[in-house]
């Protein structure tokens, strides 16, 4: 104490608390070494750390094999022939499962019934990419059509979901629901 008053306010002069000083010095020492490490040594920078993480992701994807859609392979699906796909699409509940996926992921652009909205009508006889075969449909769903705004769903759906949704789209082909006017080429 002993300072002249400021509008009646007095000030004690207690020493700085020890734990407070330790905290303060501690953060300064940490800051110094952190700064040295990330500014002047060979510590990986953000791009370097990303590269390590992406390599790890690549490894995970390779090892997981199986269920990963076209993940990492740039949407090279499908490997099967049209006949093999016909057999894969055949089970009765396949298209029904696909309908659920379609409602969740596809309906916002292709309409709830697939009659087109932002994206084309999938129930008419006209096809923009390919001829509407099982293989074509699956390829477009997996790899997407970037220019037209169709995402590559192999990044977001499992193989199971990809095949089911393709089976559903194949099943509504030719229903000719009234919707978006035809686009692409007529496939008789």
């Amino acid at each position: 104490m002993g300072h002249d008053e400021n509008d009646g306010i007095q000030e004690l002069d207690n020493p700085l608390p020890g734990w407070w000083l330790v905290t303060f010095y501690g953060t300064i020492i940490f800051a110094f070494f952190y700064w040295i490490h990330y500014t002047f040594t060979n510590a990986p920078d953000l791009q370097g750390e990303l590269k390590l993480a992406m390599d790890e992701l690549e490894r995970v994807r390779k090892n997981s094999g199986g269920d990963a859609g076209g993940g990492g392979s740039g949407g090279a699906l499908p490997a099967e022939s049209e006949e093999q796909l016909a057999a894969l699409f055949a089970p009765g509940d396949r298209a029904d499962q696909g309908k659920v996926v379609f409602a969740a992921k596809c309906a916002s652009c292709h309409g709830p019934e697939g009659a087109g909205l932002v994206g084309p009508n999938l129930t008419d006889k006209f096809w923009i990419h390919g001829k509407g075969t099982r293989k074509d449909i699956l390829a477009v769903i997996s790899g997407g059509v970037k220019d037209k705004g169709m995402p590559a769903w192999s990044e977001m759906l499992s193989k199971e979901e990809l095949y089911s949704s393709a089976a559903f789209v194949f099943s509504i082909k030719g229903k000719n629901l009234p919707g978006k006017p035809p686009e692409g080429n007529e496939v008789p």
Partner: protein, 712 residues
């Protein structure tokens, strides 16, 4: 003559009373705007299809009202009241005091009109357009002249610690505001900042972070140093501590801005400095808290009986929490999770409602009975207010922190096959909507408490006598000032200059290197400027405040690369005056949204987001299909951009409007062919679509490390 002498024998408390009224009035507006914004988040139809109150325009109204109107007027009330008493003199000039008061309120009113109309810089907490920026500068200088004039005519030679904080505040806010607001006008109420891309980002967050430091922290610490010992009638715990934490705080704070830009394309040395200086701020911040709380040693019984002490102690405790959380959030790995989420919203409201709000309430409960020479109408109601405020803040804080951590974890979740677990962004939003309702509850409780305060004050004033001026009274004989820091405390000019240098060091070291942007650009990457129509669309994007909910900055992390594409580069925003990286992702990042969806998708999405993304919480923007784009002003806009260094050719400049109309025609025809209504070519929606389709399409981020990453 005698009247004049009388005046100089008393304090000017009229000005303090005025600032208190303004604080209460604008506090009400700030809180209600915040409540409406919270409701819009929980239930999008509260946007009401009205441009003026749609979230993107309401949010700046809420933040500006809370910071500059509510907290600002509280600061001025406290500073004008305490400074006169600490210096034992009336303010330097009553005229300047009144110019300051009315000028500030006019600025607030102009903000309240222009922000809903969409006049905005597109920079957070600095949205106000250039004529208002100039007005702010003028009024702040008036305040500074009045304050330093008062110091010059002071009767008490020694400057008490509260005044150190006021000095640092006034100097630094001036520096921050002026340098962040350097802009070239295009027209009345439209301008472009001179900075672009990483420069603009760095200057903006140097400003933005230090607006928190020097508008919401240092002045309130000064107020604490005056009103806490006054209200508790206790001596300050440690004079030594006040010296150390004051200088450490103002020196370190100014460096911390880049912690808002971690993992961005800002050069990494600046990011590292932002983080380490934030960590070092922990102890100096807590120095203020310790000096506050330990001042009450030996009189903790007051906490049970005196509502003012309750508000002060809780406010200081929230300050301690927020200043511990701040450094924590600045640590890169924590920031990686928390950034862009509601955790940050929780953090800032812990500070704003807890520290600034509660301290302001304490000061008003202390000042009103003093200034009106009466007793508070009801202590019990003040205590009720306290509990409403506390529970309101806690519910707000807990719900937003939970929402932020939940969403942050969902964004980054990658499954064992190496795919995002939640690829649909909207899924991560819907998960936290219930927490948005809890925030509404928290905010409502806080506001109910505030309403109780207004009633309490109204009843107090109703039975108060006519206020009479308080005489200055005897001036204590100043003792010898002594040596060292004690001597400095008597030398106002030297002290102010030293404070100025303390905040200048970090500013110069961080900002100067980035002013020469070329150094950070890869010469092999060329970026094309926006076409005239895209620029028009960009201005609409800024006007609607899209960046409050959508970032344009993809961080170098696996989950972000999977969701959005390669990380953003320095080059991609090099022509962005202002930068639009954003600080919050209520919706997904859109740095690479260009060409991802067809034009029709965007049209439908802007008219009704739910037509393409079921359950989206984004507002509708129907007016964009009704209002016309201003094509004629584009020549002027391009010429201003060229002055700022964007390489437009003479031909583009001369034909800006024609080029824009042509591009608009093409987009509108395609839209019509795809099934949108015809005749949109002159409408704003087409300009906005052209801008959105250009995002991420202007340069080629050749990134070798990402060669194998499949592009979405």
């Amino acid at each position: 003559m005698t009247e004049n002498n009388d005046l100089w024998e008393s304090y000017d408390d009229d000005i303090v009373r005025k600032f208190i009224f303004a604080c209460l009035l604008f506090g009400a507006i700030a809180f209600l705007a915040g409540l409406l914004a919270a409701l819009q988040m929980a239930y999008w139809p509260f946007n009401s299809n009205l441009p003026w109150i749609t979230f993107g325009r309401l949010r700046p109204l809420h933040t500006n009202a809370a910071i500059f109107a509510f907290a600002g007027n509280a600061i001025f009330a406290g500073i004008y009241h305490s400074t006169q008493r600490l210096l034992k003199t009336r303010m330097f000039s009553d005229v300047l005091s009144n110019i300051h008061f009315w000028g500030w309120q006019l600025i607030i009113l102009s903000a309240a009109v222009t922000l809903p109309l969409g006049y905005s810089h597109g920079k957070e907490y600095a949205e106000l357009e250039w004529p208002i920026d100039i007005a702010i500068t003028v009024v702040w200088v008036v305040f500074a002249v009045n304050f330093f004039g008062t110091i010059a005519i002071r009767k008490q030679r020694h400057l008490y610690v509260a005044l150190w904080f006021y000095i640092a505040t006034i100097i630094t806010v001036a520096v921050l505001h002026i340098f962040n607001s350097i802009e070239l006008p295009v027209s009345f109420m439209k301008s472009y900042p001179v900075y672009a891309g990483i420069q603009d980002a760095l200057v903006q967050w140097w400003y933005g972070h230090n607006a928190v430091a020097f508008f919401l922290t240092t002045p309130f610490l000064g107020l604490m140093y005056y009103y806490l010992p006054k209200a508790a009638n206790r001596p300050i715990y440690s004079y030594r501590l006040s010296i150390v934490h004051f200088w450490a705080l103002i020196f370190l704070y100014i460096w911390a801005g880049p912690h808002h830009l971690l993992y961005s394309s800002l050069p990494e040395w600046a990011q590292t400095l932002g983080m380490v200086f934030s960590v070092m701020l922990w102890a100096p911040s807590w120095g203020g808290m310790i000096n506050g709380l330990l001042t009450l040693r030996g009189s903790w019984d007051l906490l049970r009986t005196d509502p003012i002490i309750k508000f002060l102690v809780a406010g200081i405790t929230f300050y301690g929490m927020a200043t511990f959380e701040g450094p924590l959030l600045s640590i890169k790995s924590v920031n990686a999770l928390a950034h862009f989420t509601d955790w940050i919203i929780g953090h800032v409201h812990g500070g704003a409602l807890g520290w600034n709000g509660l301290l302001t309430f304490a000061i008003i409960y202390y000042l009103v009975p003093k200034l009106w020479r009466t007793e508070l109408y009801s202590k019990k109601l003040a205590t009720t207010h306290f509990w409403f405020a506390i529970f309101g803040i806690l519910i707000y804080y807990v719900s937003m922190t939970s929402a932020g951590i939940t969403q942050g974890l969902m964004w980054r979740a990658v499954d064992q096959q190496g795919r995002l677990v939640y690829p649909d962004f909207v899924e991560t939003v819907l998960r936290i909507v219930p927490l948005y309702w809890f925030r509404v509850l928290g905010g409502t409780l806080f506001i109910v408490g505030f309403a109780i305060m207004l009633y309490n004050l109204f009843m107090t004033l109703k039975r108060a006598p006519r206020p009479v001026p308080e005489l200055i009274g005897d001036i204590p004989k100043s003792a010898e000032l002594g040596t060292g820091h004690r001597k400095l405390e008597g030398l106002a000019t030297v002290f102010s200059v030293l404070a100025f240098f303390a905040i200048l060091v970090g500013s110069v070291i961080e900002i100067l290197p980035t002013l020469n942007l070329d150094k950070y650009l890869n010469p092999t990457l060329t970026v094309k400027p926006y076409t005239p129509l895209e620029l028009a669309g960009r201005d609409i994007y800024v006007r609607e405040g899209c960046y409050y909910c959508h970032s344009q900055q993809i961080r170098p992390m696996v989950s972000e690369v999977l969701r959005y594409g390669p990380p953003s580069t320095v080059e991609e925003s090099m022509y962005d005056h202002p930068f639009q990286w954003g600080s919050k992702r209520t919706g997904p990042d859109i740095a690479r949204v260009g060409k991802k969806y067809p034009d029709l998708w965007h049209y439908r999405h802007m008219m009704d987001p739910r037509s393409v993304t079921p359950k989206s919480i984004m507002p509708n923007y129907p007016w964009l299909a009704e209002d016309n784009t201003d094509f004629l002003i584009l020549r002027k806009k391009l010429s201003v951009m060229r002055v700022l260094g964007v390489p437009y050719s003479d031909e583009e400049l001369a034909n800006a409007d024609i080029l824009a109309e042509k591009q608009a025609q093409e987009i509108a025809q395609k839209l019509a062919a795809d099934g949108a209504p015809g005749g949109l070519e002159k409408k704003e929606i087409v300009a906005l679509i052209s801008y959105l389709q250009a995002l991420g399409q202007k340069g080629s981020p050749k990134n070798e490390t990402l060669g194998s990453v499949p592009q979405l």
